[in-house]
């Protein structure tokens, strides 16, 4: 119950040349917490709305529980949706807002009272049931919207950026509650956000989209550790991954990453990824996360580590972490440092790269050399 299959789904809006969603092909398992994430306009909402039945599918098939639903109306899909601006009925009380869906489905009156009461207890809005939506705070409205979805006990929950109107603290709190709620209910959840932190903390699997095309589908850890292309690598993680232009060269019987400033020996294990490439020389972009850039003052690099001297541009404290922006030639590299130390502007520091953790992307296609087909062979 609650599995979803997108079979090569396309969405073309009238008058738009490019499809808003392009070949969306995905199997969502029952009880899964799937997050759709991507920059503004990448087609997340469109995908969700096609799933809800609010938007026609231009091409491809959609199945819920193995049933073909392309032409099924929203009310017959056994789904519930939470909208970004809550979409509470302003003329109805909180109770009526939650109860309307049940009433329209001819649920018995005492059953409605029972269910609304239970949902209100779970969401701690029992004392608000008589109020009208305009007498609620943003967080309370959001709970009512959630309550409306939960009360119907649908197979699938759809949420389109439901937390984006809340302040940071409330957002973090509601995030945790949503995760717990989904686990308790055990229902499939498809959740849309443009916030990668939200995606990483909530999703059991994440779909990264760009320009209507799925870039990668993976659990959070895998997405972070093994991004398939530069877009995913740059989109996931904060601060953004460092990208350095360069080339792979072969010298002294081994492979090196080489740019104007850097020359880093690549580990033997990397060799397999481009050994059979027809070209021995290849233009690439090296990606390395801030936590894999070390400051000499903090730590060591192991054998063969090379230190490069650069100048501190600025530093940024985010609570537990300190990020130092180091100018290295024409590039700026962000490094994570021990927060106790001070890095004044223009100070000279030495940084090094944890070479086994770097990512290499093809300069033209942006595809990771580690990804299937990314070696260009």
């Amino acid at each position: 119950m609650g599995s979803i299959t997108f079979h090569h789904v396309y969405k073309n809006y009238k008058g738009e040349e490019r499809p808003a969603v392009h070949d969306f092909h995905l199997q969502i398992e029952e009880g899964e917490f799937l997050v759709l994430v991507g920059p503004s306009g990448c087609g997340k909402s469109t995908t969700l709305r096609m799933l809800a039945g609010l938007e026609e599918i231009s091409r491809g098939d959609l199945y819920i529980d193995g049933k073909f639903v392309n032409y099924l109306s929203p009310k017959d899909r056994d789904i519930a949706m939470v909208f970004q601006n809550y979409a509470l009925y302003p003329n109805l009380s909180v109770y009526e807002n939650i109860a309307l869906g049940l009433k329209l489905r001819k649920t018995a009156k005492h059953d409605i009272e029972l269910r609304v009461g239970r949902v209100a207890r779970i969401l701690e809005i029992s004392h608000l049931l008589e109020r009208k939506p305009n007498q609620l705070s943003g967080g309370q409205k959001q709970r009512v919207a959630l309550g409306r979805a939960i009360a119907r006990e649908p197979q699938v929950f759809l949420m389109d950026e439901p937390l984006s109107n809340l302040d940071a603290k409330l957002r973090a709190q509601t995030r945790a509650e949503l995760i717990k709620l989904q686990a308790d209910l055990g229902r499939t959840m498809v959740y849309v956000t443009h916030d990668q932190v939200e995606a990483m903390t909530m999703g059991s699997r994440i779909v990264v989209m760009k320009d209507g095309v799925i870039q990668q589908v993976a659990p959070p850890r895998e997405l972070y550790d093994r991004p398939v292309n530069m877009f995913v690598a740059g989109f996931i993680g904060s601060p953004q991954m460092n990208f350095l232009d360069g080339a792979i060269i072969r010298e002294d019987g081994r492979y090196w990453f080489s740019s104007r400033r850097l020359k880093l020996p690549l580990p033997e294990t990397f060799g397999a990824r481009f050994n059979h490439s027809s070209r021995t020389l290849r233009q690439v972009v090296m990606g390395v996360r801030a936590e894999h850039v070390k400051l000499k003052a903090d730590s060591s690099l192991g054998d063969g580590g090379v230190w490069y001297r650069g100048q501190v541009q600025m530093s940024e404290v985010t609570g537990a972490d300190l990020y130092v922006y180091v100018e290295l030639g024409e590039d700026t590299v962000i490094a994570r440092a021990q927060p106790e130390r001070d890095y004044p502007r223009h100070a000279s520091v030495e940084i090094g790269f944890q070479i086994e953790k770097v990512h290499l992307f093809d300069k033209e296609t942006g595809i990771s050399l580690a990804a299937p087909g990314g070696d260009g062979g």
Binding site: A52, G53, K75, I79, Q84, Y89, L100, P133, N134, R148
Partner: protein
């Protein structure tokens, strides 16, 4: 806590109060006039306020009316019935049209919208003859349909409501769709309640038009029993213009015709404000 008024606010409030007072003078005059005895009615220069109020004018009016071939109550009944049906009809037709035009995309929508705009520009007099042809062609002469049909399609009402309905967020309607609401449910449970201020406004406008309308009675009703109060009062006044007693009756009839307008206005006016304050749209 006392708010300090800026000089500008003070000037604004004073001038608008003065303007409002000036605009309400005719109302004051109508009310006072209806209770004036004959000598005050003919006083020159005319007085605004009545000195010795009397009900004599109303007496004369009812005496005259009860001597007519068709009883006064028949006209009143016709008027009330036509006003009520027209009000209900205009609200129903206009809100449904506005819901479709304001919230859905379909073929020829732009064309329909421009037709509505175009029809706003016709004065009622210019369409009198085609209307007559349609009504008599449909055999609606001397029926209540003849009163109602010309009023049902109200471009002003549709226009006003489209503006209102199109501002209802799409998400609200989509949420209802997912909740399992049919078009009719969405229309009646969401669109209608949220359009209440606009509906109140068009109710006032429509009532005033219908209540004062004499065109349908003049053109489409040959039988006296089918004509409305507005028509009766109008013919009464024009028939009595030169007689002395006519002035008394005219004064009383003027007030009687005006009162329902005022009552309807006050009822809906309150509703307009209430819904604007409490609806919580947005």
């Amino acid at each position: 806590m006392r708010r300090r008024w800026s000089w500008f606010q003070f000037a604004l409030v004073t001038s608008f109060t003065a303007l409002a007072a000036f605009m309400s003078l005719p109302i004051l005059f109508i009310v006072n006039h209806a209770f004036k005895p004959q000598n005050e009615l003919f006083l020159f220069p005319p007085q605004f306020l009545v000195q010795n109020p009397t009900l004599r004018n109303f007496e004369l009016l009812f005496l005259h009316a009860s001597n007519a071939t068709v009883p006064f109550t028949r006209y009143l009944f016709n008027s009330v019935l036509v006003a009520a049906l027209a009000l209900a009809g205009v609200i129903l037709v206009s809100t449904m049209a506005a819901y479709a035009l304001g919230k859905y995309r379909f073929h020829f929508k732009g064309f329909i919208l421009s037709l509505i705009t175009l029809s706003l520009m016709f004065a009622p007099e210019t369409v009198g003859i085609p209307r007559y042809l349609i009504i008599s062609g449909l055999g609606m002469n001397d029926t209540y349909f003849g009163h109602l049909l010309p009023l049902l399609a109200s471009p002003v009402a549709v226009f006003l409501l489209i503006g209102f309905v199109s501002q209802i967020p799409d998400e609200l309607l989509e949420a209802a769709k997912i909740d399992g609401a049919s078009h009719l449910t969405i229309f009646s449970r969401i669109v209608i309640p949220l359009s209440a201020p606009a509906i109140a406004t068009i109710s006032i406008l429509t009532f005033q038009t219908v209540w004062g309308d004499i065109e349908t009675s003049t053109l489409f009703m040959q039988e006296e029993t089918m004509r409305t109060l507005a028509f009766y009062v109008n013919s009464l006044l024009s028939g009595l213009q030169n007689s002395v007693a006519g002035q008394n009756m005219a004064a009383a009839a003027g007030l009687l015709m005006f009162l329902p307008n005022l009552i309807i206005f006050l009822i809906f006016q309150k509703r307009v404000l209430e819904t604007m304050v409490h609806s919580g749209i947005k």
